[in-house]
């Protein structure tokens, strides 16, 4: 990507969503959702397919009607405004380029509809094309472009309108892995250079972790947690969030929280883990809990008290590291280990958990204690 061209390519706006309700027929997809987005923020809506991410994004864009609540952009209430009057640019998963128009016409269409003079359209399209380095493609039709080129053009079409807010709906999911990684970096750089507010929908936690200032993890039309990626990773609000971020998933151990001589303790079968290093454990009431441990918070060690022992069932060497899977009673847990000195299947491995980094969830509600 070239340096930022002269002149504004986009402003920055805050977005405020209050108590939003969206229903299709009598099916409530989103109910009472509130969300504030800072000017210039990169917010990622992350969640499994069907959880209402696109619905929320389309509502912000004005493409679907909301039945309750309000949406304002830059302090202006746009709940009932047309998409074109919201100062947004949007990029779609399927690119959604106009098939019978050239790249140049695709990019200029919005400006033309807006009644801009031909010369100015040409100038703006040229400037944006240069910025995205898609000048050689300007005369082509979408059918003659590769997937990556199409998505670049789609981004260009959103950029050319000098929008204040950019909305991305899974823009990379139709691309292969390598291209996805490349374009992910380009989008991040785009955000750094433009400084515009961006809302980015994805079901890919890697995209979410790498791009976001803040992630809103969604499930069933509700935001489960809204926080910076590191915070969500370290302190997930519930078991769903804990399981959704991180590969391999966080390990979950079911057991009881108890107190021995005033010290909090996790008990499961013969296993006793001292939780005094975990501030949240001291405040919680005794009862059934689930202990969550990331695969990197388990380190091989010798046998002894406070160790987790299991039989190695499978190893996955990934190059820089190896994922080792162990059987622990009826469940499986994963451990992140070095590239070379990992045990073979069949061996018994003793692990020392870093309990200061663990999470505790209520066993019934799944909420973080």
């Amino acid at each position: 990507m070239k340096d930022l061209p002269d002149g504004p390519m986009g402003g920055t706006s805050s977005i405020r969503i209050g108590d939003l309700g969206i229903r299709f027929g009598d099916h409530d997809v989103i109910r009472g959702l509130s969300l504030d987005i800072e000017p210039g923020e990169f917010l990622v809506l992350l969640g499994p397919s069907g959880c209402g991410k696109s619905t929320l994004l389309n509502a912000i864009a004005g493409l679907i009607d909301v039945h309750a609540g309000s949406i304002s952009i830059s302090g202006r209430d746009v709940t009932r405004a047309e998409p074109k009057d919201r100062g947004i640019g949007m990029v779609f998963q399927s690119y959604a380029l106009y098939p019978r128009m050239t790249v140049k016409q695709n990019m200029g269409f919005g400006l033309k509809v807006g009644g801009m003079a031909k010369a100015e359209i040409a100038e703006r399209v040229a400037r944006t094309a240069k910025f995205l380095q898609i000048e050689p493609l300007l005369g082509r039709r979408p059918a003659d472009l590769s997937g990556g080129q199409r998505q670049r053009v789609a981004i260009g079409r959103a950029l050319v309108r000098d929008a204040e807010v950019f909305l991305f709906d899974e823009p990379l999911s139709n691309l292969d892995a390598q291209l996805r990684a490349d374009l992910r970096i380009e989008i991040k750089r785009l955000h750094q250079q433009l400084g515009s507010t961006m809302i980015y929908v994805t079901h890919d936690q890697v995209e979410a972790m790498t791009l976001a200032d803040r992630i809103a993890v969604m499930k069933g039309g509700e935001i489960q947690q809204l926080a910076a990626p590191a915070e969500i990773y370290a302190r997930p609000a519930n078991r769903f969030v804990a399981g959704f971020l991180g590969t391999p998933k966080m390990n979950f151990l079911e057991g009881e929280l108890g107190f021995a001589e005033g010290r909090p303790e996790f008990r499961a079968g013969g296993l006793r883990l001292d939780l005094s290093g975990l501030p949240m454990a001291g405040r919680a009431a005794p009862g059934p809990v689930v202990l969550g441990l990331r695969p990197e918070d388990l380190a091989p060690a010798g046998d002894g008290p406070g160790m987790i022992a299991g039989e190695v069932v499978l190893t996955e060497p990934l190059g820089p590291e190896t994922i080792v899977w162990l059987r622990l009673g009826s469940s499986q847990i994963s451990v992140r280990m070095g590239a070379e000195d990992f045990p073979a299947p069949g061996a018994v491995l003793h692990l020392r958990p870093d309990l200061s980094r663990a999470s505790l969830f209520d066993r019934d509600s799944g909420q973080r204690l």
């Binding site: 389309n58 047309e82 074109k84 949007m90 959604a96 106009y98 098939p99 509809v113 807006g114």
Partner: protein, 285 residues
């Protein structure tokens, strides 16, 4: 190629050949008869080639043959048919395209119900509507007029054209519409700039279906067009049924062929497009 494939192939060719004979034989008989003189028609087999080739029956059919008391051949009917067919096709295809677009791509309220009603409309035998329609047209002063017959063709063509366009447009992804709306385009702008340019194959299909259907129509032309705008088909029937002495079979055959020429030409010229349009979806790949 193994045995059963061979038998299958042979069966297929036999079927094609039989179908060909079934459709081509009458055409052949009509063609040769129309090129014979009357004495020859009387004396020779209907399959025999003409001994003395003559184009007089064609000229007679086009210029002088009598339909009832008017002896001007089929040429006035031809032009009447053109004048009826062109606006009827243009209007019914245009309305079908707009309807199909609105039903498939704009989540209009009650779109499903409206579409269901239209489907019913497409399949109810239209003879049911003719009498009430004729009465209404009479009271609206539209009976026996060009406008009247065009309106009837448009009304009865619309369900099918709507169906054709709706099905084609339901293959268009919602995001394409969303992108155009974010770009600020409205209902008509999206139709004109985005959707219609993608519609050539299906427009061709709709035009062919409507043009042949309307050209071949007899009943509506007979009831609604009135004397001054009688289409070619109505004149043809009049011509064949007008008896003055011996039946001029050669002229009748020529007149029939003349009437069939337009749909025939449409099929021959656009067959390739037609097949492509029927097979094509809105989105490639």
């Amino acid at each position: 190629m193994d045995r059963s494939r061979l038998i299958g192939r042979a069966g297929l060719w036999l079927f094609v050949a039989l179908t060909g004979v079934f459709f081509l034989l009458p055409l052949y008989v009509m063609l040769v008869t129309s090129l014979k003189t009357m004495p020859e028609v009387r004396d020779s087999s209907i399959f025999a080639l003409p001994k003395a080739l003559t184009f007089a029956p064609w000229a007679e059919a086009w210029l002088h043959a009598c339909s009832g008391r008017v002896c001007e051949g089929l040429r006035t009917g031809f032009w009447n048919s053109v004048v009826i067919t062109v606006p009827s096709v243009v209007l019914s295809v245009a309305i079908g395209a707009v309807n199909g677009y609105a039903l498939a791509l704009w989540r209009a309220r009650y779109a499903e119900a409206m579409f269901a009603i239209m489907l019913v409309g497409a399949f109810i035998p239209y003879q049911l509507f003719i009498y009430p329609l004729a009465l209404s047209f009479a009271s609206a002063g539209l009976s026996n007029s060009l406008a009247g017959v065009v309106i009837v063709h448009v009304i009865f063509g619309m369900p099918v054209t709507t169906l054709i366009f709706r099905n084609y447009y339901s293959g268009i992804p919602a995001d394409l519409m969303n992108a155009a709306r974010v770009d600020g385009a409205g209902f008509w702008r999206i139709l004109g700039s985005v959707i219609l340019p993608m519609s050539t194959p299906i427009i061709v299909v709709a035009v062919i279906l409507q043009a042949t259907g309307i050209w071949n129509d007899y009943l509506f032309g007979l009831i609604f067009a009135g004397r001054d705008h009688q289409p070619m088909t109505v004149q043809l029937i009049g011509l064949v049924n007008t008896r003055m002495g011996e039946r001029p079979y050669n002229v009748h055959m020529a007149a029939t062929l003349l009437t069939a020429l337009v749909p025939l030409a449409i099929y021959l010229l656009s067959g390739r497009w037609f097949v492509r349009g029927i097979a094509a979806g809105a989105v490639k790949g």
